[in-house]
């Protein structure tokens, strides 16, 4: 066991955990933040996607000990306080989720793409949003990313 400090959604959390435990399970079980989902456990599906310093990563295979105290972890619970992130607004407007289980990871992947590429093209989306959704919401996910881009631009203007 190891005593670690994690910066989760802007709050420092002290945890005493097995250092080999994946970040996903520290979030879900040690911290009780269940928005980030378990689905495959082998970094295939992306349901566990969170941001480390704004970059999307798959938390189901990342040992918590690999996350430094200074790294800013953002989970779906911290994407915004009030559903005001452009991705959340776009997802609400287009009614993107079906069962919704993959959507926290999908939205974090989308938000991460937009952090890196505010003008992401369809080709960028194809390459970088590789999450699995078995309900098949991809068409609206794609529309949602483009709508989020529009929302980002209109709020900046």
């Amino acid at each position: 066991m190891a005593k670690l400090n994690l910066n989760v959604n802007g709050v420092t959390k002290a945890v005493d955990v097995d250092p080999s435990m994946p970040l996903l399970w520290v979030l879900r079980e040690t911290l009780g933040m269940t928005g980030t989902k378990y689905s495959c456990g082998i970094a295939q599906c992306g349901a566990c996607t969170v941001h480390l310093d704004g970059q999307p990563i798959r938390s189901c295979v990342l040992p918590v000990s690999a996350v430094s105290e200074s790294t800013k972890i953002t989970t779906i619970e911290g994407l915004s306080e009030d559903l005001s992130h452009p991705v959340q607004k776009a997802w609400a407007q287009l009614d993107v989720p079906q069962c919704g289980y993959c959507q926290p990871g999908m939205m974090m992947a989308a938000a991460g793409l937009l952090n890196n590429k505010p003008n992401a093209t369809d080709a960028d989306i194809d390459r970088e949003v590789t999450n699995i959704c078995r309900c098949g919401t991809f068409q609206r996910v794609r529309e949602g990313i483009h709508l989020a881009q529009d929302i980002m631009k209109s709020t900046k203007a």
Binding site: M1, D18, M21, L24, W25, R28, E29, T30, L31, G32, M33, T34, G35, K37, Y38, S39, C40, G41, I42, Q44, C45, A47, T75, I76, E77, L79, S80, D82, L83, Q88, W91, A92, Q93, D95, V96, P97, Q98, C99, G100, Y101, C102, Q103, P104, M107, D126, R127, V129, T130, N131, I132, C133, R134, C135, G136, T137, F138, Q139, R140, V141, R142
Partner: protein, 731 residues
């Protein structure tokens, strides 16, 4: 603007839940969870379907499960339409199966499958909404001392125009239940609908956008322990022993327990405070299995079994006209082809899970289930307690697709919880367990034989299905003289369900036989999205394409000629051909498919190219005539999603066996479509009125044959064994 009002209210609702959660690290009190969503401060039941708070908030009770298909919102729209309440004030809750039992099944069936959610309950939920409205009006009329007939309702406000008086629903709801329950209710003409029939936003979206929705996998209860399980990797095998020395030394591990259930589980679970450690500990048990009688099964043995039925003399008849053998022997041209469809897993994103708390007096289960009543029965059977002492609290499902109609995981969690009386146990399956212990899409083959006359008309068709029966595997008591008519979904004579023409074949063929040589490998079959229509539509619609080409006729014209008795089928086919630019010479391969399934007429036109063996799907135009469209934008969502699910199966994935063990244990070997693979889907919703047809499943069946036919148009290559992908690569 609509969503912002919903957003405010939803945040309030969730706020009250998460306030409790914050006090104890996300622990949800059982009572709060079981009650589900509250829409206001004081909730008063007008009738079983409707409760209205003094703040006018309307909570509509939804008996069917929500797994993404949108039934929750559609049913609420139907109730709200008749209730004539303000849609902006509507929220929802799940009644419990235990309450349903106590109240003599006042909410009807909880079963959610077969695209029946709206279809089989629309009548009584609309009547429930109308009855509640009449009681609210009667109460207001009594208070005013005027005839109810002189009152009117608009958006949850009752008016008596002659005296210019009004009362809000919230002002009379508390006492409205004292009014006599109406014995006769008149329902609105859908032409007058303002809530139902509209493309409204889902009621369950916002809490899916910030991680606050509690799925079964997310349940946390005070003092709860978590468990991971491994069942015998070969169906029918059993646990011989294990060594728990190492596992018990791992962090948080409390116990290692054998788990044996009435539904065939014979495995072992690790119980502890952390699921990840419990799951890791499972790998340290050195488990010894008796693999049982199916340990020799592999793909070759399954294929040989299926092939043995292709020409077998004995088969169950599902459809027949004239004399197909004479037609075949008299044919100018005979066409023959053999197709094969493999087993598939459901693989919902949320792997199977359930939580249970057992005492000698009571057994409670929290779980995502497509059939709350079956889960309740399972809790009773597994615990040995009378059903009145059991309860099930449903969550929204992280995908279902048919898998969660089964209750095997409920049996398992209760079996574990009984070894820890009073302590809640959450059983979470690993993805590997979910892949290896599915109720798989049945695997079948088909031998198709057709006869054409000199003019290229289809004179006879024999469709011999050989393979697995779901009914034989799951509910053999429902076989009819040994036959499983569900096998004939989409190609049956007359219709599958009593009183409905569901699933009958659309084509009028003078000499026809569709029959089934049942061949059941030792693979547990199950209902799946669409299920038997998926392969039946591939067999029928790909072979129709083959026949048309052999006859030298246009596949659209060839089909339309055979659909002369089914104008609605012809209409959806024509619609996709028109919008899909059928007949255009532009370098794209186009393929068609049409079917009548789950009470809806559906068709698709796919556009593809194949370059160096790589398939690119550009666009699929889909049309659906579901009779009555309750929420057109959700219908479009279901069509889009059904194509992803159906094409993932047709193009990419399959379940195979080696030595009785499933080989595709995770998404690395069981690939699923991703955003880059998704074609643009254009949905035409063209309801012709009357019936309520299914929506979640019908279109899945036309996706694969339309794409397969488009592949032929693009390449001249017929792919008859699924999945497709590697075959094009090697071509």
């Amino acid at each position: 603007m609509k969503s912002s009002i919903h957003m405010t209210r939803r945040r309030f609702v969730l706020g009250s839940l998460s306030a409790g959660a914050g006090l104890s690290l996300g622990v949800l009190p059982a009572l709060e969870l079981s009650a589900g969503h509250h829409g206001g401060d004081v909730l008063d039941e007008v009738n079983a379907w409707v409760t209205i708070g003094s703040d006018d908030s309307v909570t509509i009770r939804i008996a069917r499960s929500e797994m993404g298909q949108g039934t929750l919102t559609g049913l609420a729209q139907l109730v709200a339409e008749e209730l004539e309440c303000d849609w902006e004030k509507v929220t929802w809750s799940f009644p419990t199966p235990g309450d349903n039992l106590k109240r003599k099944r006042i909410w009807g069936s909880f079963s959610t499958g077969g695209s029946q959610g709206v279809r089989s309950s629309q009548q009584y939920v609309r009547e429930g909404g109308a009855a509640a409205r009449m009681m609210l009006v009667a109460e207001a009329a009594d208070q005013w001392g005027v005839p109810a007939a002189s009152c009117r309702v608009e958006k949850g406000v009752i008016y008596h125009d002659p005296t210019k008086r009004s009362l809000r629903y919230g002002e009379v709801a508390a006492v409205a239940s004292r009014q006599a329950v109406p014995t006769e209710v008149a329902l609105k003409d859908p032409a007058d609908w303002t809530i139902a029939g509209q493309p409204l936003k889902r009621l369950d979206t916002l809490e899916k956008l910030d991680g606050s929705l509690i799925y079964g996998a997310d349940i946390q209860l005070p003092e709860m322990l978590v468990a991971s399980i491994v069942d015998c990797p070969v169906m029918g095998g059993s646990l011989k022993g294990f060594d728990d020395t190492k596992a018990l030394k791992m962090p948080g591990v409390k116990a290692v327990v054998p788990v044996k259930t009435q539904t065939g589980t014979d495995g072992v679970a690790v119980v502890g405070t952390s699921w990840w450690h419990a799951n890791e500990a499972l790998k340290q048990l050195n488990i010894e299995w008796d693999l049982g009688p199916n340990a020799q099964m592999n793909d070759a043995s399954i294929t040989a079994l299926l092939e043995s039925g292709l020409d077998a003399s004995e088969a169950f008849n599902g459809n027949w006209e004239g004399d197909v053998e004479s037609a075949l022997s008299d044919a100018v041209t005979r066409v023959e082809a053999i197709y094969k469809v493999p087993a598939q897993n459901h693989a919902p994103m949320e792997p199977m899970n359930a939580t249970a708390r057992y005492t000698s007096e009571r057994c409670e289960v929290w779980c995502p289930t497509q059939n709350g009543e079956a889960a309740l029965a399972a809790a009773s059977e597994a615990s040995g307690l009378p059903i009145e002492q059991c309860e099930v609290y449903k969550t929204i499902l992280g995908g279902g697709f048919g898998r969660r109609g089964a209750a095997d995981y409920v049996h398992q969690v209760v079996a574990i919880a009984m070894q820890f009386p009073g302590t809640p146990i959450k059983l979470q399956w690993s993805r590997e367990e979910d892949q290896m212990h599915g109720f798989y899409h049945p695997t079948t083959m088909a031998k198709m034989r057709g006869s054409l006359d000199e003019a290229g008309n289809l004179t006879g068709l024999h469709m011999r299905i050989s393979g697995q029966s779901i009914i034989a595997g799951l509910m053999p008591q429902r076989l009819v003289n040994g036959a499983d008519f569900v096998t004939f979904q989409g190609v049956v004579k007359g219709g599958l369900n009593p009183g409905m023409d569901d699933h009958q074949m659309c084509y009028s063929i003078p000499n026809l036989k569709v029959d089934h040589a049942m061949r059941n490998p030792a693979v547990r079959p199950g209902f799946w999205r669409g299920v038997n229509v998926n392969q039946n539509a591939i067999y029928l619609e790909c072979f129709m394409d083959e026949l048309a080409h052999k006859a030298g006729r246009d596949p659209l014209e060839f089909r339309l000629a055979l659909l002369k008795d089914k104008p609605k089928a012809a209409a959806v086919l024509q619609a996709v051909a028109d919008k899909g630019a059928w007949g255009t010479e532009d370098g794209l391969g186009r393929g068609l498919a049409v079917l009548y399934a789950f009470g809806s007429y559906v068709a698709a036109c796919a556009e593809v190219t194949v370059t160096d063996g790589e398939l690119k799907m550009h666009r699929i135009v889909a049309a659906t005539d579901c009779g009555t469209a309750v929420n057109p934008q959700q219908i479009a969502a279901q069509v889009e999603g059904s194509f992803v699910y159906g094409l993932s199966a047709a193009l990419l994935s399959q379940i195979t066996f080696d030595s009785g063990v499933v080989q595709e244990k995770n998404f690395d070997r069981y690939p699923s479509m991703r955003i880059k693979d998704m074609p643009k889907v254009e949905t035409i919703v063209m309801p012709s009125g009357g019936v309520y047809g299914g929506v979640g499943e019908p279109t899945i069946a036309v996706a694969a044959p339309a794409v397969l036919n488009a592949i032929f148009a693009a390449t001249g290559q017929r792919v008859r064994t699924l999945p497709v992908a590697r075959q094009l690569a090697s071509a």
